[in-house]
Structures are given as structure tokens and as C-alpha cells.
Symmetry: D3
Subunit: 213 residues, 6 copies
């Protein structure tokens, strides 16, 4: 099968659909993989590295989108819709629930979309969503703490305070993966943390393992 | 010297001025020690044990108070004043600062009083006061937690809460030994603790060792 | 349906069958709810609050017990048996296993009893029993520590000891919720804790999360 | 004495020389205090608040600098030199060691400067420098972690990693207050931390209290 | 049934197939149990103790192996093969996967072998394998730390280092029971630990409970 | 001055008196340094490395001992006495208190000995003794844990136990550096630790920092 890896065009999106290593596996399985020029450059995957692993580098997204299957990170952007063709397969994060416009377009084009965020393993866990949530939760506090700095327009609160100055308060709504990872970072920086969830059994797990409610 | 160990008469005071072991040391140093009947009984020091260590058991406080030196726990009580005689030495906790009546009586009787709470070692630490403070601080939270129970007339607050129920808040004024020991117990029971002190360097020590401010 | 919330009559029972909030939900679902005068007063739920949420306040338990369904906390007490009528539904903690007398009475009166302690969710957990166990376990240590005080007739042991004085020993039989919550509090107060259970896999969980065996 | 509190003019400096509360103390001690308009506004101390505490608000720095004593935060800036007059007293952070130009100016004007960073208490500690160092150390990691984000031009490293992704490495040079506070935050965010210092006894203290070397 | 407990002959194997207590249970269930002389001596189970619990002591392995069922610890050793008879039942650790020679012998003799390491409970856990893995994992670090000592021919590395000297690095491959127990001990001795596993969800569990990745 | 660094001859002593780096400093200060062949080999300091740093390698201890000053690790051994000459200076650990024979020999030869273990810094700390104590304390538990293994002739006790098996007990006499480092390792391996010391203030420090008494 011809598989295409386009360069992401969403603002501040540095990731790429497949690592060079993964491409090797596909090529060994007799698939053909085309990668858009400098698709992985921002995170250190050079075109050369992709070539060495068996990919063909193409210079335009137009060419990549000729592939039967597209593997990318973010949902197709406005500019990418015209490049998609009927029956094409898409592997990427889609988040359709909050995006009726995209949903309509995918239906119109009769795209076969497999949303990363919905893939489950045999214990009903979400192996492609969980790591994103872990990063999101951990970054959230870092971003929030930075936003609280006076020189960034914040209220001048240091999450952990210092001896003699009250610590900041962090309230986390939802004790899923994002929430718990955020909680750990907030505690790590010394904040006073309250975590809320309707699921008491989840709060018990957190309490048992992390001594917090 | 004739040394007397009276039975404590203050309400709920179970302690005794000297342990049997300590009496042995005094007797070996050629002092004579008289102990009031059942002075140490409440905490397991029987009259027999005192006798085996060289003390003489006497049956009334009147007899004990004939001694040149009295070693006891609490300051002399109202009923004990008439038993004291001029020039007698007292080793006990005195806490005169808040007790002008006692102070006046001690001066009238020309008592030589050595207050346990003021004895310092060569690094200016208070070896006889510190353990009392440690007990006081640790007990304080236990007593306070009990007082918060609804069946004891309290507000029905459990210091550590449970998953889904807010923990109780404990504010501790003063980060000396009493305060810090209380803080440890309150944290141990899961309360949300704030400790206040005018001495920022003390708060820093606590923060460095115990991760709290 | 007519639902009655009696005032609890068991000694030292301050709880009440339903919160004002819960009553609102029932009333909105077209049920009629009658609450006995001052049923929730001890824990801050005034009759007024119940009225605002749609309950009707009645002045005697006799009236409340006319309801088709009774929602309360503790099992029916001796004095309450005569008030119950055939076919009446009961939602409360029953603990029948250890109470043949109550069981007999419920059968005689053909009561439809739903014991809170047996209600399970879809993962076979016990959402109405667990929080009671959490409170029980945490309180147990608080109560036990208090009972160890000399002024309460105990042996004069402070669970955490102080530097130079051995800590108290706590042995916990059963590593269920009560046991583990008690364990946490005992550790928090500085006691030396041993927890026993026939289920080694439960001990492993505790060891993995809490570093204790 | 006439005391002046100018508005800070250094870029991103939001602090102010005295809090309204401190001014009250000075006024009660019969000093006259003039505060430059909106000097404390950025951190919530309004002109009104200063007035209520006894300060007089003046509208230009020129007026403030007529005072006998100036209390401010940062060392005098280039633009402030012309406003200073011979013999004037300055209380502020000076950091002269790295700033020969300022030193020369202060000497020329015969300024009596008291550098906050050099004030010691009777145990040779630095009560005015330490809190700044605490803030600096804690902020350092927050700022550093933010700088590592790919969207900020960093290497895309998350200090704590996530399960399956290596944590970031932080090397801290110097185990003084800045270093140790930075260390705590870096550990709190899950980084792998190495702290270096020529003073082994300081490393031992850290190791004893914080389990790190 | 006649059950035999031989003395283990594998080098450094001190364990024994059944405790005296377990024998009592079998005897009460009308089985006959013969134990080889001094089978449990190395770990404090004397022949007398076995006798008191109902076992018969026999002086040679030859006699023990006449039993219908053999309960022992390690797989049959070379020297034991000739003692085994057709149809005999064996309860012991077998680890056949890596031992074709043993497998062949067991098949030839038509032995009914039940391998301890494969026994599962009703939640598919391995109650007889897990404790062995726990011991193995904890001992591994102790043995490894000892092997690193210079006087044992090692590289002279102390796992925890000392202040000023880098800690040792431990890499653990596999986050199963052996690996996690080893990890805990290595962390406990102060080593810098990296644990690897292909199962990210297991790494997440460890991270959640133990703050490590 | 001519300084000699002999190869240590005490059994299992792998250390050497000076590192190559230290020799460089001495040579730059115009001293002459001779090092015995392969003196540092066991810990990775080759003769070549010493030569590159300015030392002269000599092939016999006889030659080294001609130096005016000897820098080594352990006290002079029986075989080394004849090599020493009157007035020679010795820098090494001496531990004379328990070694009257050595003391006599040093006096006879009129040796000027500086014992490493007695060198203090300006705060009366022992910079040369402390690191040895740290290593000793940490190793002690490692060695002790190994000695408890059944295959080493021990009682078959695993310090940390496993879930369901009691942990081992460790009693440490003396809360100095050796004791506290041993304590940390024993706790790290999961043992039940009691530490004893006559100095209650030291126990308080440990309790404050490490939550143990």
C-alpha cells in the first residue's frame, strides 16, 4: 500500500505521523512510504534519516496526499481538505465530537478515518491517548505557573510560596490522567492542591497511592 | 543530705519527682532519700521498687516535707505551702511567670527554688523542658482531634477527611517544639496545616526538613 | 410515593437518612417526603432547610412511619418496631447477620428491607459501605490513642513516642478498608504498625503503595 | 526625618520599597513619608492605601528624591543619578561588586548607601537577601522548564518525562539557598538532579534532610 | 495416600517441601507422610518437630521415593531420576521450559508433575511463584551491591555513593515482580535506578505508586 | 621537601595516600614526590598517571621510605617499622588509642605523626574522618545483610522481609555518622530499625529530619 506522511501545518505542531523506525517496519512489510520534505525536522528526524529507513521524500503535500493511507498527527486542517480524495484512509487524532465541520467534510469525502484517541487495547485502555494526556497534565502546571508570574501579566503568585509566604492554590477538576499528572506536578512545586471528581473510587485510589484527597 | 520525694497532689498528675533508678544514684552518693507512700504507683514504680533502690518509704507528705531538698514534678500546690520550711530547696517545674501567688509564697518562705523549665545545657538548650514540650505538642493534636468528634460535643470534623470529604484545617501559632510536634501529628492524621512564626529562619528549617511552610 | 425520614433515636447517632439536597431530587420526581422535626439538626440540616427543598416537617415519629418507604441510617430500634407496618420499605444499614432479633421482627412485619451495606455498583464495590469503613478506620486510631492516655485510664502510651521513648505498637487484623485506613493514621501518628491479613495479594498492594508489610 | 519611596523604573521591576504597613510604623515614630504616585500599584498597594497609613503621595520622582532617606528596591538607575543629592541615605539592593559605574556615582555624590543584600542578623544570616534567593531558586526551574518547551524554542524536553520517556537532567552549581530551592522544584517536577558544591558539609546537610547527593 | 518429603540435594538449597504444620493437615486428612531424615534441619524444622506433627522419619531418600506422591522444592536432580517410579506424582518447581533433559526423563517415567510455578488462583495470579520472585528481586540488589565491593573483586562502587561521590547506576530490565522488588531495594540503598519494560501501563502503575519512571 | 607515597600493604587495603591530582599541586609548589610502583593501580591510578602529574615512580618501599614525609592511608604496619627513620613525618590514619604497640614504635623512632582522623576544620568538624564514617556506615548494612543469608552461614533473614514475612530488626548503637548512615541503608532495605544514643538532642535531629526515633 502507498502510505503518505505529510508535514503538519497546524500552528505550533512540531510532531510527525511516524518515526523513521516505524517506517522501516512498514517498508519491510512491502509497503511504500512517502514522507513530505522536512516533515520531522523540528524534532530531529531529518529527511536523510527517513530515506535511510526506506522512505521516499517528496517535496509537496500534494504529492503526499496521493497516498491510499495518510498517517499524521492532527486532524486534517482547512487547507488540507482539498488534497484529500474519496476513500482515502486517515490515521490521526480526530476529536470529531467538538468539530462538526471536520466531521461533515470527512463524510462528504467518504474518508475512512481511524481516530488515534479512540484506539483501545484488550483491557479497554487507550494506548495512543494516554501519553498525550500525561504530557498535557504535566505541562499544564508548568504553563499555569508561568502564567501566574507578574512579568507575564499574572497575579505574581509563586505556586510553592516561600517560607513565610502562602503557597498558591490549585484546583483540579477531574481525576483522570490529565488531572492526576497535573496534580503531581502542582504538589511537586509545593502548591496546595484540591482535586475534584465525581468518581469516589478514583479519589480513593489517588488517596491510597498519593496521600491526597 | 535528706531528700524528699512527695506524692503529687495536683489533679491528673501521675508523674513522680524521681525514678527508682535515680534514687539509687543519690543513695550511692551518700544521700538519704525518703519517698511518700505510693508516690510512683500510677506509673508503675511501686514502693517496693523504691525500697530496693535504697529509699525509705514514709506514710505522709508531712514527713517528706521535713527533707532539706524536695524533688517533685509540679509547682507546690496551695495545700503544700504550709508543709514547706524556710531555706528548703525545691527542684520542680515552677512556671513562676504566670503565677504571682506562688512566687510570693516562695519568697516569703525563702525557698531556694530551681525551676526545671529553666535549666540549660552548655549549648543553651533546655533538656528538662524539651521532652515535656514534645509530649505536649504530640498530645495536643490527639486531644484536639478527639474534641472535634460530634459525640464529644465537637463540630464533627475528621482531621484527615476521607476521599471526597475535605480534610480539617489546623493552624499552629509558634514553630517551637510544641508547635512543630503538633504539626507533625496533624500532618500525620492528614489535616491541612498552616504553621505561623515570626522567626522566618525557623520556618525555613521546617520547610527544608519537612516540606511545609 | 410517600417517603418518610425519621429522626434517629439510637444513642450518639447524629446522622440523618437523607440530605436536604437529596430530598429536592425526590420531590422533583413527584414523590412526597416527610421529615421528622429536627431530624438533621445535629449536623446542621435545619427543618427550614428541609422545607426549602420541598419536604414537609412532621412532629412525631409516628407520623413519619406512616410512609410507604422509610429512609434512615441505623437499623430499626426496639422502640421503632411497633411503628412499622406490613409491606413497608426500609432503606438503611441493617447488619442482619449479627442481629437475629431484628431479622425476626422484619420477617414478621413482612418489611422490604434494603440494607445499605449490601448495595454494590457494577464493579461489585460497596459505595454505601466504603465511606463508613473509611471513617471507622480513621477514627479507630484516634479513639484508641485517646484511650491509651493515663488520664483516660490507659497505660500512658503515646503512639508516636518521643525521641528517646519507644513508640507504641499497633497490630491491625485485616487489611480491608477499615484496617488500611487505621494503618495510615497509626503510621501518621508515628506508631510501629503490623498489619495482618490472610490475603497476601492485598498485603502486596499495601506494600507496593505504602511501603509497609 | 523625611523619607521618600520612589516608583521603581527598572524594566519588569514591580516591587516597591516599603509596604503601607511599614509606613504606618515610621509615621507613628514621627517620620514624614512621601510616596511617588502609583509606586505600589502593580502589586496591589494603591495610593489610597498608602495615604490611609500616613504617607503623602507626590506626583514626581523629583519630589520624592528631595527626601533625606530613600527606601527603594533596586539600585539607582542611570536616570535616577541626577535626582540624588549629596549625603542622601539609600536603603536598597545595591550589588556594587559587579557594578563599578554605580559605585563611582555613589562615591561622587557622597551617598550613604545601605545595601539590603549585606544586612546580617545576630547569627550572621542575611534576612533581606535570603527571601530573594528563595524566590530566585524556585522561579529558576519554572523559567528553565518553560524555556525547554519546543514552542518556546527549546529542545522539547519535559523535566519529569512521562512513563517510558526519560526525565530531563538538571545540574545545579552551588548548594546555597538559590541552588537548594531550585533543586527542590526540579525534584518536584520529576527531573534527575545533580547538585554540586565544594562544601561537602553542606551536601551532607542536604543529603540528611532531602535524601539526595 | 503415601506422601514423601525428600531432603533436597541441590547445592545451597536449604528449603524443604512441606512445613511440619502442613504435614499435620495431611495426616488429619488420613494421609501417611514420610520425611527424610534432617530434611528440614537447615531452616529449623527438626525431625522431632515433624514427628510431633504426625510424620514418619525415614533414613534414606530411597525409602522416601517409594511414596505415591513426592512434595519437594526443586526439580528432580540427576541423582534422583533412578529413584522415581512410573506414575509417581511430583509437586515441586519444575521450570521445564529451559530444561529438555528433565522433561524427557519425566516423560519416560510417566511422572505426573505439577509445577509450582504454574499454579494460578482464580484471578490468574501465581501464588507459589510470586513470593519466590519477591525474594529473588530483593536479594538481587543485596547480592549485586556486595559484588561491586572492591574486596569481592568488584569495581569499588557503593550503590548510594556518599555526599560528594556519585551514586551507582542500576538498570533493571523488566518491571515484573522481580524487577520492581529489586528497584525498591536499589532505591532504598540510594542508587540511581532506571527500569525498562515494554509494557507502558506497568510503568505507569509504578510511576503512580512509586514516583519513578 | 621529598614526599613519599608507599603502596599500602595491609590486607584488602586498596586505597593510596594521594591522588595523581594532589601530587600535581605539590609538585607545582616545588616539592618532589616519589610514588611506589603500582601504588594506585587497584583503584585505577596507574603509574603513568602519577608520572604525568609530576611524580617519580620508584620500585621499592625502601626507596619511598627515604622521604622526609610519608603520606599514606593506614597506620604503619609491622613490616614497615624498620623502614621508618627518626624525625620522619607521617600523614595517615593512626588510631593510636587502641594500638599501644604502634604508639610505642612511633615514639621510639621519634616520628612526627599527623593522624587524619584527628584533623578538624574551623568548625571543629572532621573532614578526613567523616567520609570514611559515611562509607563505613553504608557498607555496614550491606555487609550485615549479606551475612544474614543462609548460604553465607547466616540465619536466613531478609532485612526487608516480603509481604507476609516479618522484616528483620536492626539495632544501631550510637547515632553518629556511622550509625545514621547505617540507619538510612537499613531503612532503605525495609528493616525495622531502632537507633540508640545517649544524646537526646541528636535523636531529635534525626527524628525531625528522618521521622524515626
Amino acid at each position: 500500500m502507498l502510505i503518505g506522511i505529510p508535514k503538519e501545518i497546524k500552528v505550533k505542531e512540531f510532531r510527525v505521523g511516524l518515526t523513521p523506525n516505524a517506517i522501516k517496519t512498514l517498508v519491510e512489510a512491502k509497503h511504500e512510504v512517502i514522507v513530505e520534505k522536512s516533515a520531522g525536522e523540528a524534532i530531529g528526524y531529518t529527511d536523510d534519516l527517513y530515506k535511510k529507513n526506506g522512505a521516499k521524500i517528496v517535496s509537496s503535500s500534494k504529492e503526499v496526499y496521493k497516498a491510499e493511507m495518510i498517517i499524521k498527527v492532527k486532524e486534517p486542517q482547512e487547507k488540507e481538505f482539498p488534497l484529500m480524495h474519496e476513500g482515502q484512509m486517515f490515521f490521526c487524532y480526530l476529536h470529531l465530537a467538538s468539530d462538526p465541520n471536520q466531521t461533515k467534510k470527512l463524510l462528504e469525502k467518504k474518508i475512512v478515518g481511524v481516530a488515534f484517541e479512540t484506539i483501545t487495547d484488550d483491557e479497554n485502555r487507550l494506548p495512543l491517548l494516554v501519553p498525550m494526556s500525561e504530557v498535557a497534565g504535566r505541562l499544564a502546571i508548568q504553563v499555569g505557573a508561568t502564567a501566574l508570574q507578574l512579568n507575564n501579566g499574572g497575579k505574581g503568585i509563586l505556586l510553592g510560596g516561600i517560607p513565610g509566604v502562602r503557597r498558591g492554590k490549585v484546583v483540579i477538576i477531574g481525576a483522570g490522567i490529565v488531572g492526576v499528572e497535573a496534580m503531581k506536578m502542582a504538589l511537586g512545586l509545593g502548591a496546595e492542591v484540591t482535586i475534584l471528581d465525581r468518581n469516589l473510587f478514583r479519589l480513593r485510589e489517588i488517596d491510597e497511592c498519593m496521600g491526597l484527597q
